[in-house]
Symmetry: C2
């Protein structure tokens, strides 16, 4: 069969392009080897934010001295139902637009043909253009190989059939700390080990410290500059020996040390698609790979492994294919978000990065606990930080550590991008009893006399 575009992968790197192109009247096939919606819908953003939402509600009940009773199985069933609904939403979207869905493993062949292998046999799809959006898989490590039982990834960790008593999470990146936050709220005893000096190592120390303090208050035990030396199975449990000598007996070991691009063994290199040293697909600003007519988008091209980055790349690839104007993705403007009660949302450069590049900047930092919206959530450690260029003309970085930061950052992003001037933000009636209204106060703080904050 012949298609205008074959898209490999129906996750956030794939389905937006499919929807756009099919909507424009192109003949589009989407190949999916597992579940429609990919990692984000089935194993990442959606189930993790569902559990997160429930976990935060539990903490709120406790705030007034109350207690919630619920069945673990009821929680997991609900998570599954949300995921199913999200997945079906994407299927419905693709169907409505007229994109064809082909279930099976894709292998790219010479001449822009895609072989789709499934239990029912193999078929070949011919394509004018191909979009590779195969994503990443969780990586394990030599001392802790996924064993299909207790050494697991995020994929299993969000669907545990029984509540574990004690969990060790290897890796204090976004996946690790989000899971630690949620599980601890669900009264699981959680340990996190992070090899580097602090959790969330790609963020500034003050940001990481605020999250660490918050997690510690929830009972999470964090071991930094530490990793796992050995993991042994012992009956139904696992004994982990840390490099510090500490020994932990746990029910589950979640390995969250990184992701591996799904780029090998699917014919990419043979078809002339260049990979980088880590196996990520190399693309230009139009999301074209080195093979003519082959595009790529999402996790498989590397960069920040975030759904909203993948969506934008997918849109850029699709628009490039039909010759529509498309932006060059500004990777610095992609907010990094961490959903941990005290959420993190980060745009632009960190202080670390600016320092390492020798760029001078002025740092402004305000505590956010003055906001009643933050008091209600009991988030004492909340703050926001804006890094300005030395001449004060450009916002170089925005870092928000606060409840709802993931929503709030969209307003700050407009300031980072220069679309909203600080001077205008200072006089904007952002709604009261939100965290977004901090933008008014932060702008005032930078520009002169802050009305809701002490002097700087």
């Amino acid at each position: 069969m012949k298609y205008d575009v074959v898209i490999i992968g129906s996750g956030v790197g794939g389905y937006p392009a499919a929807s756009y192109l099919a909507g424009r009247g192109l003949k589009v096939a989407v190949v999916e080897r597992h579940l429609v919606g990919g990692e984000c819908t089935n194993y990442g953003c959606v189930p993790s934010k569902a559990i997160y939402h429930f976990a935060e509600a539990l903490k709120t009940i406790e705030k007034v001295g109350g207690e919630a009773s619920y069945k673990w199985s009821g929680l997991i069933e609900w998570v599954k139902s949300v995921v199913k609904e999200s997945r079906e939403g994407i299927t419905h979207l693709l169907e409505s637009k007229g994109a064809e869905l082909h279930l099976g493993e894709a292998v790219v062949k010479q001449g822009r043909r895609v072989l789709v292998k499934s239990a029912e046999g193999a078929k070949e799809l011919e394509a004018e253009k191909i979009v590779v959006a195969t994503g990443t898989d969780p990586a394990d490590i030599p001392v802790a190989r996924f064993d299909g039982a207790g050494i697991i990834s995020n994929r299993e960790a969000l669907y545990l059939e029984e509540k574990p008593e004690r969990v060790l999470i290897i890796g204090g990146g976004v996946i690790g700390v989000e899971l630690a936050n949620a599980l601890s709220a669900l009264k699981v005893e959680v340990y996190v080990v992070e090899l580097l000096e602090h959790i969330l190592p790609f963020l500034d120390r003050d940001v990481a410290l605020a999250v660490k303090t918050h997690l510690a208050q929830r009972g999470v035990k964090i071991r930094e500059s530490t990793t796992v030396a050995k993991v042994e199975r012992s009956g139904g449990k696992y004994i982990a020996e840390l490099t510090s000598g500490e020994r932990l007996e746990v029910d589950k070991v979640v390995v969250a040390v990184g992701r591996r691009p799904n780029s090998r063994g699917i014919g990419l290199e043979e078809a002339g698609v260049e990979l980088d040293s880590k196996g990520f697909v190399k693309v230009n600003s139009r999301m074209e790979t080195s093979a003519p007519g082959v595009y790529a988008a999402g996790d498989v091209v590397g960069g920040p492994l975030l759904a909203h980055k993948a969506i934008l790349e997918s849109i850029v690839a699709a628009r490039s294919i039909v010759g529509e104007e498309a932006p060059t993705v500004d990777y610095r403007a992609v907010p990094l978000t961490v959903f941990t009660g005290l959420e993190v949302a980060s745009v632009g450069y960190t202080e670390k990065e600016l320092s390492s590049m020798g760029i001078k900047y002025t740092k402004y930092r305000i505590p956010l606990y003055y906001l009643s919206a933050v008091k209600i959530k009991g988030a004492k450690g909340a703050f926001a930080k804006i890094l300005l260029s030395e001449d004060g003309e450009r916002v170089l970085g925005v870092h928000i550590v606060a409840p709802n930061a993931s929503e709030v950052v969209s307003s700050y992003l407009a300031v980072y991008l220069g679309r909203v001037k600080l001077k205008d933000a200072a006089f904007t009636p952002y709604p009261h009893l939100t965290v977004s209204e901090s933008l008014r106060d932060f702008a005032e703080y930078i520009l002169g006399e802050p009305v809701h904050l002490l002097k700087r």
Copy 2:
């Protein structure tokens, strides 16, 4: 004693001006007759959003089949503690900036003198300038006069010592529906009567209908085009007879029909301050009243009775006093927010208003349930509506009905104000699993091929 500025009222119309002016080194006195922080901090925004936050958490627990147990007294104690902390935050802010706080009733005298009467006696403050920020009081109605027992306002309704079984709320405006939403989540049986055709009558029918459906699902009984004909006390209960003939026996009757400006009997008119027919203080765009040197801000000047509007007016008054550049408040750009689980945030014109003015517009409306962030919150009725001018050049109105709309609207506000173009919003990587990312999709939808939505 002689001051540069005497500010009457320490609520959201007063304390921002006090903070700004004292911070600039002026000698500032703030007169407060009751509690620092005024209505918003003590009886409005803060306690209502605290209860709201808890109420939504309860609903989340129920979503997975769970149940929360808590003591009503524990809830109220917690609300009080949040309010106290917010109040003390304002006191601390004013003290740190060097503003003096005077407790007592203020009466304005000729020659910009302010008499402060308290239990300790009376004193007179002389002022170069005066800012009147005396706010509003809840209004009652002839058939239901506040009785200090069961016929109450928002002030008592948020601090009930015992959980009522059944409550009648007279008035389906913002205060009424927010209270209905929270109380129903707390398993109080709630009735709302609204005199006009639909609740939230100042909003479009589709917005009101979505909130009504949401409230009905929570068990709230809403009677529109209906009011109370008679209320009688009967033992510890109240029997209300509606104009429809329906009779209700309830524990409490909350009157939430409107607010009355605190502008009479405090010397304003005698000092040359003009009031409008409803008693609101008339001001110009610099917040100057008709009496030289006398400014006013907040609820007492009328317009939308919203905290963020009051804050901005207070800043404008303060900046005008010291001759700093100040914006003219654009009242259309003040978001109206309703915190009802399925929240409402509304900026600009409604369809009703545009139609009544004979202004033609193009309406775009998208359902928001396609967002996983909305699915997680189970908010089936969520939607967003953008009204564009006929030439497509100007956003005339934005109406969001969704969880977190109060935060999300700040991003949409930038579009309403023309600071962020739809074309740019369509290519902005707003974080995934938020409601804010709907802005990208909505912009795409208006401009052409929507990636996450069906065609229009």
